[in-house]
């Protein structure tokens, strides 16, 4: 036996001393399998480095993030012998990633974040990257300099360690992992976010029963957590690894409460605007959590259920996020539309995140689904917190429309028209973006008519948007904000002078991308057959109609969108001819085919 050992020892490259070999053999002989040993090594090193890091206020982390190109302060080397080793390992991994194709790595990182429901905010905080840039890089492949990519990858590598630690510790029943989490960095944990898997479960349950009992809720908690663990590729019940995204009974309770409020609100809106609506039956197909209306869909979709329904045809979600400040426009828009969408007619998703409501409601209200708390009269905005675009469609076919509208939802197949008349109607009021600023968004009730024939109402409603109520999305600032990505949970918020509301319009076939539109255009085309009128309305918050502005008609004329009954059309509303001139990009409206 000893001879054998000797032979082996001589045969192998002299990377190990004889004693080391002996020790390794001893370890291997003690019942440790090779895999367990290797894994344990990794864990131990992470434990050590993180302990060392914590002692130094995670200086190892922070400083290496920021001072990535510098050396971590030597003091940390002293703290933990393994720290430099660990750092070296991390760096090696980061370097490896840097060699790879950036887009490829971006996809990896992005999918990891989706899998674990990590907010971009966290990345931004610990890397100092610009969130907009980060989002663009991850979702669209916008180039990022090596130094910045290095800090991103560093965060990624560390996060992986952290998360695997969390899961491991969960296994051992240790709670220490939690401490390493955001606690030390932030004063509190990351905000909880529903994952797509959980949402699917919840929506199904909601269909069955809107008001589950405590036992049922607890069952849902189990189901959701299990699903989330599976999504992360972890065995069920390693719950600690879910961290801040752990589903609890309270959260389930709140979710149901919010959905009920949403429904009540939609119902209320529907009562307010008695338009008949041809609901697009087709819109129902693809959406798993199928509420009765398109609007509901969109809400749900917005709720991120979309991502779970990503596969479904014709789901497009446009979401708009409203910035907290009332006057502060923020919007996101995007929209993808599913080429498969059969529904003719342009679907306009006007997605108004009720920034209005949001402002009134405390955004962090725990009760509501992520962002909005529905208070009394305020509509429960829940889903419209971020824009999603699902089922990326060919790049060309996206239309982004930003308008400040109370809410817009994009429906998979149904088109939400905001004040859109039917195909011919282009009486969409132009949303005028004054100068560069946004005026306050005012709740404008808009009734959409999705009638094939009636166009007046639209102009009516849309009018309100005009002139006085300038809400718009500044397109100009959003050069290409069409995010053609599927289930990208992040949305891009355009800072400063952007609309607080954005309207997203999805078109059945293709929408011209409204780029650099400073005016908000509403592009609505509705296929006569597929108008879902009330749903839209329900979602859109009631708005007080304002004096009809003649402008709309003018502006409408600017768009000689050919309309066929079947075709989708997008109309871009521009504030005024003069303004429009400057705004309208060439590809503004593309008629759907």
């Amino acid at each position: 036996m000893e001879e054998r050992i000797e032979e082996r020892a001589e045969a192998k490259p002299r990377s190990l001393t004889a004693l080391q070999e002996q020790l390794i053999w001893a370890l291997l002989g003690s019942g440790l399998s090779r895999d367990v040993l290797v894994q344990a090594i990794g864990e131990l090193q992470r434990d050590r480095s993180s302990t060392g890091g914590e002692r130094g206020e995670r200086g190892d982390g922070e400083s290496s993030e920021e001072g990535e190109m510098d050396f971590p302060p030597p003091i940390f080397r002293e703290l933990e012998k393994l720290s430099p080793e660990e750092t070296a390992k991390l760096r090696a991994e980061v370097d490896r990633l840097l060699q790879e194709d950036p887009w490829h790595v971006a996809k990896i990182v992005k999918s990891y974040m989706q899998q674990h429901n990590l907010p971009q905010r966290e990345v931004v905080e610990s890397t100092g990257l610009n969130q907009s840039h980060l989002s663009q890089h991850l979702n669209k492949g916008t180039p990022m300099k090596n130094q910045k990519r290095a800090s991103l990858y560093t965060w990624y590598v560390k996060k992986q360690c952290e998360i695997s630690q969390q899961f491991t510790n969960a296994k051992h029943g240790l709670a220490s992992a939690e401490e390493q989490g955001e606690e030390t960095r932030k004063g509190r944990r990351n905000r909880f976010k529903w994952g797509p898997a959980s949402l699917q479960i919840l929506f199904h349950a909601y269909e069955r029963q809107k008001n589950p009992s405590k036992e049922e809720r607890e069952g849902l908690v189990e189901d959701c957590n299990r699903a989330e663990c599976h999504q992360r590729g972890v065995s069920s019940s390693q719950l600690a690894g879910l961290g801040s995204n752990l589903v609890t009974e309270v959260r389930v309770y709140n979710w149901f409460a919010n959905r009920r409020k949403e429904e009540a609100f939609r119902h209320k809106l529907a009562l307010d605007t008695p338009f008949t609506n041809q609901s697009a039956s087709s819109s129902h197909h693809n959406i798993p959590p199928s509420p009765e209306h398109g609007v509901k869909y969109s809400q749900q979709i917005l709720c991120d259920a979309v991502s779970s329904a990503r596969g479904s045809v014709g789901e497009r979600v446009g979401r708009l996020v409203v910035s907290p400040a009332q006057l502060e426009p923020s919007h996101t828009l995007l929209e993808t539309h599913n080429p498969k969408l059969v529904s003719a007619g342009v679907q306009v998703l006007v997605y108004l995140v009720n920034y209005l409501y949001m402002h009134c409601c405390h955004p962090d209200h725990a009760v509501l689904y992520p962002q909005v708390s529905s208070g009394g009269p305020l509509p429960p905005v829940s889903t419209l917190t971020s824009l999603h675009s699902l089922s990326a469609s060919p790049a060309s076919s996206q239309g982004l429309i930003m308008a400040s509208l109370p809410s817009v939802m994009s429906l998979g197949e149904s088109s939400l028209l905001i004040g859109l008349a039917s195909s011919q109607a282009k009486s969409v009021p132009v949303i005028n973006n004054v100068g560069g600023g946004f005026t306050t968004l005012q709740p404008i009730s808009f009734q959409q008519q999705l009638h094939g024939s009636s166009q007046q109402p639209i102009s009516h409603q849309l009018q309100s948007h005009m002139g006085a109520s300038p809400f718009m999305a500044t397109m100009a600032q959003l050069p290409c904000h069409m995010y053609n990505k599927s289930d990208s949970p992040q949305y891009h918020t355009v800072p400063s002078s952007l609309l607080s509301q954005a309207m997203v319009i999805t078109e059945g076939s293709s929408l011209g991308t409204l780029t650099s539109l400073t005016a908000v255009r509403q592009i609505l085309t509705a296929d006569p057959e597929e108008l879902t009128d009330s749903p839209l309305q329900e979602d859109s918050l009631h708005m007080q109609p304002q004096t009809p502005v003649p402008v709309s008609s003018e502006s409408l004329e600017l768009y000689p969108v050919s309309q066929t009954t079947e075709s989708h059309q997008s109309h871009i509303l521009s504030p005024s001819p003069t303004d429009i001139g400057s705004y309208i990009p060439t590809q503004m409206v593309s008629t759907a085919q």
């Binding site: 036996m1 000893e2 050992i5 001393t17 004889a18 004693l19 070999e21 002996q22 020790l23 053999w25 001893a26 370890l27 002989g29 003690s30 019942g31």
Partner: protein
């Protein structure tokens, strides 16, 4: 440590000790213990052996008294709790013999 470990009964001793004696374990005169000395080719081997024994000791929660100088390892086995030999010592002795051959 759970329970009080029992010292070996006479029967067991009569049965087991001969085997150990055959393996070059000797009974210590002054106390109820067994002893053996191992010699290895070099320190690394010796220490490798000791590592294996150590890991096992931890597993069994039963630790030998030992001395090491370079390639020599002298081991004495006894159970403190019962002041003499116990089954654990026997088990450990057997393991040690195996380990020394690896």
């Amino acid at each position: 440590m759970a329970g009080k470990i029992q010292s070996l009964s006479e029967e067991e001793r009569a049965h087991l000790l001969p085997l150990l004696r055959n393996a070059q374990w000797v009974e210590v005169g002054t106390r109820d213990a067994i002893y053996k000395e191992f010699i290895f080719k070099d320190f690394n081997q010796a220490f490798g052996f000791m590592s294996r024994v150590a890991l096992q000791a931890e597993k069994m929660d039963h630790h030998p008294e030992w001395f090491n100088v370079y390639n020599k390892v002298q081991i004495t086995l006894s159970t403190h709790d019962c002041g003499g030999l116990s089954q654990r010592d026997i088990t450990m002795a057997t393991f040690i013999d195996q380990a020394s051959l690896m």
